[in-house]
Point group: C2
């Protein structure tokens, strides 16, 4: 989902009454970011509070490439990383993930080995394969074992877009919340729905209900589900004791537009890029009785902050033996403070850009290659900013391209290198970047090696279901990441 | 101002708390349009309830050209047109215009000759000239006579952007409202501020207060002023008896960006074009006790509807001796009804596009000429949709370019001519267009002839001020409209 997909963020069809109400009862973050312009690294950052370049969710196979966790990926979340649920456990929290995990699908990366107590969902994306023949369909797990596969047991009709997955995920969430309330145990629910990821899907009752087509139907179902979750918390009388945060793992994928693509509002480009459209996210904090209703925050936030903020809410300290990039947002949320901190825009192993205050400096620009672009793969459809949305990797490290995101949120007008404003802003930014880069210790890259043998041929539980497949011989190779 | 300039419409700095509150207390229109992508024709349409091609506010000097009322224009609003204040007068209303008139500056076009009882403001735009030497500075009128000129008596500091004009306009509005309340006479106030038109200006107290630069300062001052006007109505106890509507006369002028340009959200292009960015407008209706708070409407609306709606509020019928394009929006506003009606997108003498439901068909496309574009004049900066934002006038009358504005509000993906959807939608649209064009009787074009002799050399009242200038010999010519 992208920044512009909610009514509260200016989506012209204004079809998200529940999320809009969540914002009017809570706090809207207008300057909230993800840690990566795509899924796996962003989710790893959310759960570790650390940039992907630290927690290993990146590749060094080529410069500045977007890597993630397809089925043939060998790597995943390292044991050395401390995940939010592992830490919350120490404070008595019961942790559940519903939906897409995406931090590795091999046994050692299983969410229940990394702090979660329960899981309902899939290890990889639902975007294929679809026939379970040449390659295995993605399994759906309940806790330790698979209970079926996408397109076989958990249908997604690729023609109509019909699938009742969000309803299943919703019910899982409601049941878990009820159970925790009944047992009076604190809980962490990571509700990682994926209906707006192509192939986009929605339940029958939502199909055709949106002005926006199937993508809008999916958004409406998510919106409706969020409303039901919040209502459930209220009905159980625990809303004033439950902190809820809504956000997304990357900007809307404009390559899927117009049929399956969302909106990044007026921001430049989308998923896969480090322009604002790729990394600025819708974000809403909700906690009745604590967060002033209708609040709006310009705090520069990041999904990694949810790690530190959640620990703070649980009365825990973040680990002190490693660099944590997330900050505690509670002063911003509860007291309206503005905490000075930079936003780093990474693509794989490269810091492409940095934001400090309203200034954003691009040290590298790239949308995708001419080769991909000429095949019709366009991360910035209808947009073209000369020298900015470049189709070759352009280095600007000696004279970064500088934008003022207040006057120019669309990143269309780089400031003149000769201007006083450029000089002043870059003085500030350079110090931040230098300090970041000098102290950076990259983690072991986890997304370099691919091997067909590690795919979900025979996940645990497949025997009971008669759904085990024979893996091919192991043949590890460098993964190929085209952009 | 553009669709995307208000927080309620997704402007990322969210700096319009008063307009956002007006929306939350009233009704937000998401699909509201102007009748022309630039000022004079749009304002003429607002006050006559008729398309510019009917009321004469267009040119036939060249095909599909944007024409307006600069100082050397000979034409203006014809006497044969019935303006909203003329009609409201019959119901006992006292009418005042504060700000820019723009319906012609020669004596016969004076607002007090067309139904207004009071005027404080200027007949033309404040964008120049600036020195009163080669050409006269624009006069500022109080009622029948000028009381000074821009840049002489009414300063706009072109370096700092400082001008207290919005404060003066605000005070005029508040005083008029107070006076009308005291005399218990119904009133129509046309508050036509122009601070967001380049050269953009703001009062000292607002300068530097916006994230968005000077343009944002101007928006903030307008926002603040609207808040004060609404508050004034409430304090006087007449808010439940006063219908207030906020909108704009055209999309944000992106040629003035980033320093002086606003935002059209995610819509394509801006002022001067018939893409959504040029003609979809922010719009809010406010009438406490009548309009349900927090309402959102997808009614296709148009500035011309304010004519018919205002008459309806005053218990009057629109004139029956002529074609009126505006509709009565009260059923949409008060009962949430959706009235089926098309939106016509005109540029000069050409119907460029039409919207019916969520479908918009372009019969002609044009941004501006290659000649202008090559000089850096760009109505769609950073945007380029092949075959859509064309730099030659492209005729599509036999096979219009069709967009679904729900799935594709940015007009990036024309529907396939071969699709069933195209066929079905065009069948509907063609009927509407045919009926419109067959019955259309264009008015006498008022914006064809220019003459330096008619400029504001010696407006009424200039003698008292010693501000009369000597006009040159009359030398009428065809006006040149480059785009």
């Amino acid at each position: 989902m992208g920044w512009g997909d909610l009514g509260a963020f200016g989506e012209p069809s204004k079809e998200t009454p529940n999320l809009d109400q969540m914002a009017s009862e809570g706090m809207l973050f207008l300057d909230f970011y993800t840690a990566s312009p795509l899924c796996s690294p962003s989710r790893a950052a959310l759960l570790t509070g650390r940039l992907p370049v630290r927690n290993g969710f990146y590749t060094t196979n080529a410069h500045a490439r977007n890597a993630y966790t397809p089925q043939d990926i060998v790597g995943g979340i390292p044991d050395s990383e401390l995940l939010l649920p592992e830490l919350l456990k120490k404070a008595g929290y019961v942790n559940k993930i519903v939906g897409k995990w995406h931090l590795g699908h091999r046994p050692q990366f299983h969410p229940l080995k990394h702090g979660f107590d329960e899981w309902f969902g899939s290890p990889n994306c639902h975007f294929g394969p679809f026939d379970n023949r040449a390659l295995p369909n993605i399994p759906v797990y309940r806790d330790w074992e698979m209970i079926g596969r996408y397109y076989e047991d958990f249908k997604i009709d690729l023609k109509t877009g019909e699938a009742n997955l969000t309803q299943i995920y919703l019910q899982e969430a409601l049941d878990f919340i009820s159970k925790q309330q009944a047992s009076q145990q604190p809980f962490f629910l990571y509700w990682a729905i994926d209906a707006t990821h192509a192939p986009v899907y929605a339940s029958k009752q939502f199909l055709g209900t949106s002005q926006r087509g199937l993508y809008g139907d999916a958004v409406r179902e998510i919106d409706d589900s969020v409303g039901k979750i919040l209502h459930h918390l209220q009905q159980l009388g625990i809303s004033e004791n439950t902190f809820v945060f809504f956000t997304s793992d990357n900007g809307a994928a404009l390559i899927s537009a117009p049929k399956q693509g969302g909106s990044n509002g007026r921001f430049l480009c989308g998923k896969q890029t480090t322009f604002e459209g790729g990394m600025r996210e819708p974000a809403i904090a909700w906690w009745p009785g604590h967060i002033p209703a209708g609040g709006v925050s310009h705090q520069l936030g990041n999904v990694m902050d949810l790690f530190t903020t959640s620990l703070s809410l649980a009365g825990l300290q973040p680990p002190s033996d490693r660099q944590i990039d997330g900050i505690d947002l509670l002063p911003a949320i509860l007291q309206g403070k503005l905490i000075d901190r930079p936003i780093f825009y990474y693509r794989g192993n490269e810091m492409m850009a940095v934001r400090v205050g309203l200034y954003k400096a691009h040290y590298w620009t790239w949308s995708n290659s001419w080769e991909e672009y000429s095949k019709g793969i366009d991360f910035c459809p209808g947009q073209n900013v000369s020298g900015v949305t470049t189709h070759t990797q352009e280095e600007h490290t000696t004279l970064p391209l500088l934008f003022h995101l207040g006057r120019d949120p669309g990143e269309k007008y780089p400031l003149s290198f000769a201007s006083d404003e450029y000089q002043r802003a870059m003085e500030q930014l350079s110090v931040v970047v230098q300090q970041h880069q000098v102290t950076l210790v990259p983690g072991e890259p986890q997304l370099n090696v691919c091997d067909k043998a590690v795919m979900n041929w025979s996940p645990p539980g497949c025997e009971k279901l008669g759904k085990c497949l024979q893996p091919p011989e192991s043949d590890p190779k460098k993964c190929f990441w085209p952009h």
